[in-house]
Amino acid sequence: MSTIELLTQGFTTVFTFKSLAFIFLGVVIGQIIGALPGIGPSAGMALLLPLTFGLDPATAIMMLAGIMYGGQYGGTLTSVLINVPGEASGVMTAVDGHQMAKAGRAGAALSIAAIGSFLAGVGAVAAVAFITPALSAFALRFNAPEYFLLAVLGITAAASLGGSPVRALMAATLGLMIALVGADPVTGAPRLTFDQPALFEGIDFIPVAIGVFGLAEVLSSLERAHDMKPIRTRLKDMWLTAAEWAESRIAILRGGLIGLIVGIMPGAGASVASMLAYVTERRFSRRPERFGKGAIDGVAAAEAANNASAHGATIPMLALGIPGSASTAVLLAALVLHGVRPGPMLMQQEAVLVWGLIASMFVGNVVLLVINLPLAPLCASLLRVPYVFLAPGILVLSLVGAYAATLDMGTVWMCLVFGVLGWLMIKFDIPRPPLVLALVLAQLLETSIRQSLLLSFGSLSIFVERPIAAFLLVLVAGSILLPVIGALRRRFGGI
């Protein structure tokens, strides 16, 4: 059967009242869970897994997948409105999205996020439908050497995320130091744990992001409690302007492509995707100085990337039985619990289920766009509540969210400590995004270079012999050398 026939068959599975109802339920739950700090889509899917036991496997998977990508839309809300990333991949959205909100453009930020997520999501699902076998073969050519160079590419970009490169790199170094804590990823030896069992698995990303962004932001705002006014939001500012749309179109395309490619790699997830998309966009931008101060193309790229990545992660899951993300791992577990054995034979043996899922992702993305466009101005109006009343509410939501993520008080304390650290960083003008960027990339960086050298028995030639690695190596060299050459020319150009 051709892909079109299979897809048509998938749509007939989806267009029944029951399927549509559960897809709708899934995406709405995903939207809500994504917006809560701490609980990401994968934890949300696990929480609702028992509810799907009464359903047939296809409907259950459609609903759970709805939570997965619905979470990507929902994460935007808290990132933009209160600078608390709802899930890990929302960090880059928060950077510019919240600056836009402060300038009264929350509605525009939320709209472009919804549109960007939708376009990238639909594009990614089309890729899942038509070129999954080719993409999964491509995904397998990505391994430790490629991951290492990808991580280097991300880290070198950190220098550009802030006013002063020295200050930005100091923040990145701090992020790398935080990532050093915990069992060594290769030998398993405890490192910098100071004999605290709680530190053995390292410091999780969630409490750091909630603390450094959400809590720190509120602490900094509370300093000026006497003149805290609600953020100016006029109705006519709620919508996207034509100029903003023009700025974002290419960003969505680039972000979506990067998200899809990173998403299909089993070793890197949506947070890496959104960060790479963001720094790429900044590099291509004609006015990179606006990034970090409310650049709408930054929001568009990050959101397009994280949604494309969430969908892309289903490619290795469907084609190989390898989860590309934490959420797809739960989807795989759900398949197993429903008596379906995942693996490379899945697409042949369970064609109805697989094509129903693919069709449902098209439908679900449409539903999410329809929900989110009117929701954007509505949610933006939330900022009309006087900030004095929002502030303690944000603190409570952040701390309770951190607890809900692990059900462990240690996580909440961690969150508090990083809140104070984030506040100090604001006061001393050390940019915060490089810290979380480095924290996300650190493990990839360290694990993959050591895996690479184990694979090559210690020979560095592994980074040039593999075609994709060699290509990435050129990119890395360019990204380091170009700014240096530029700086030298500026300094000595006149002579």
Binding site: M45, V186, P197, G321, G339, L407, Q443
Partner: protein
């Protein structure tokens, strides 16, 4: 997991296990006073949603509810992080509690050994060990090694040049490799990954020579023509289609038997009557058709050990873990 030991001792232990298992399941209700816990029960899992221990507990909790074996509500709660320490410390802190159970997976045994902290197994109330999963050594379909014998010879000829991709250091696949190294007198290179599926991607990408899979994980890749199984680390061959032609490691001259297992325990000082009640419920659930079917479907084993027998079983496994972790240099003295 059964230990690699001189055959006579292994046989003795194995028979002992069978005998004890027989006794505990043959003497039901009346031998031990039983009392049901009141109110909702939480089964704590140290693994994330979707991990094998999580799937096992959700499956059995579903059967207990569906077949009305247990009428109090059961919630499977993931308390992830710190190598299952968040989960086991939570349960250890609930001395005498009747509404909390701990999922026993290998990190519950190994984390204290690696960190040099007091054993968890020695402190919990053992309830049941009820499911095991055998491991199979996969090589790429185009591998030059057609059998474990050739694999071992290849590793002998080029020490440390045969690479195995696996999960975290000190995990089941790492320890299985260490056992093979010891038994065959060879040295291989272990490449650890953040998860088993990341390691599978490395294996399928053709980057390494070998990968340890559970039977149900390996089968689809064998059927798709991407991988070949050269040895199963079990006592005897499987009879299932797909695995019946795969020899055991022992047949190939490598004396290794290694099986993953999972179980459940209660907090320290749990009322023996409640523990006995739970052991009985787990036995009933594992005897259900749904459970037996799922074992068959997932190619897992269902050897059942309860209470005192489970205690001996867990302690024995703990000793094996300690010995293996010491041999790979990961155990930290207390």
């Amino acid at each position: 997991m059964t230990l690699k030991a001189p055959p006579s001792l292994a046989a003795f232990v194995f028979c002992g296990v069978l005998a004890l298992g027989f006794v505990s399941s043959a003497v039901p209700a009346d031998a031990q006073e039983m009392r049901a816990p009141r109110g909702p029960v939480e089964i704590t899992v140290g693994a994330g949603a979707g991990g094998t221990p999580d799937v096992i507990m959700r499956s059995i909790a579903k059967i207990m509810a569906d077949e009305k074996i247990v009428d109090v509500p059961i919630v499977v709660q993931n308390r992830t992080g710190a190598g299952h320490a968040n989960a086991f410390n939570f349960v250890l802190g609930k001395r005498g509690d009747e509404n909390t159970l701990l999922t026993l997976a290998s990190p519950v045994f190994t984390t204290p050994i690696v960190q040099g902290t007091p054993s968890v197994i020695d402190r919990i109330t053992p309830i049941a060990g009820f499911i095991q999963s055998e491991l199979v050594l996969l090589v790429p379909a185009n591998s030059q090694f057609k059998s474990l014998k050739e694999f071992v010879e290849g590793a002998k000829a080029r020490p440390s040049r045969v690479r195995i991709a696996g999960g975290a250091s000190g995990g089941n696949d790492h320890l299985a490799m260490a056992l093979i190294e010891q038994a065959a007198g060879i040295k291989m290179t272990y490449i650890p990954h953040e998860s088993g599926s990341a390691a599978l991607a490395t294996f399928l990408g053709g980057n390494v020579e070998g990968y340890f899979a559970t039977l149900s994980e390996g089968l689809p890749h064998m059927q798709a023509g991407k991988a070949r199984a050269i040895a199963i680390l079990s006592e005897k061959r499987r009879t299932d289609e797909g695995y019946k032609n795969v020899p055991t490691a022992r047949e190939e001259g490598v004396d290794v038997v290694y099986t993953q297992f999972w179980g459940v325990g209660g907090p320290p000082g749990m009322d023996p009557a409640v523990a006995a009640w739970w052991a009985d419920k787990f036995r009933k659930a594992t005897e259900s058709k749904a459970w037996q079917d799922s074992l068959k479907e997932k190619l897992q084993l269902g050897s059942f050990h309860a209470l005192a027998d489970a205690d001996a079983y867990f302690k024995r496994e703990q000793d094996t873990f300690r010995r293996l972790l010491t041999s790979v240099g990961l155990a930290k003295p207390q």
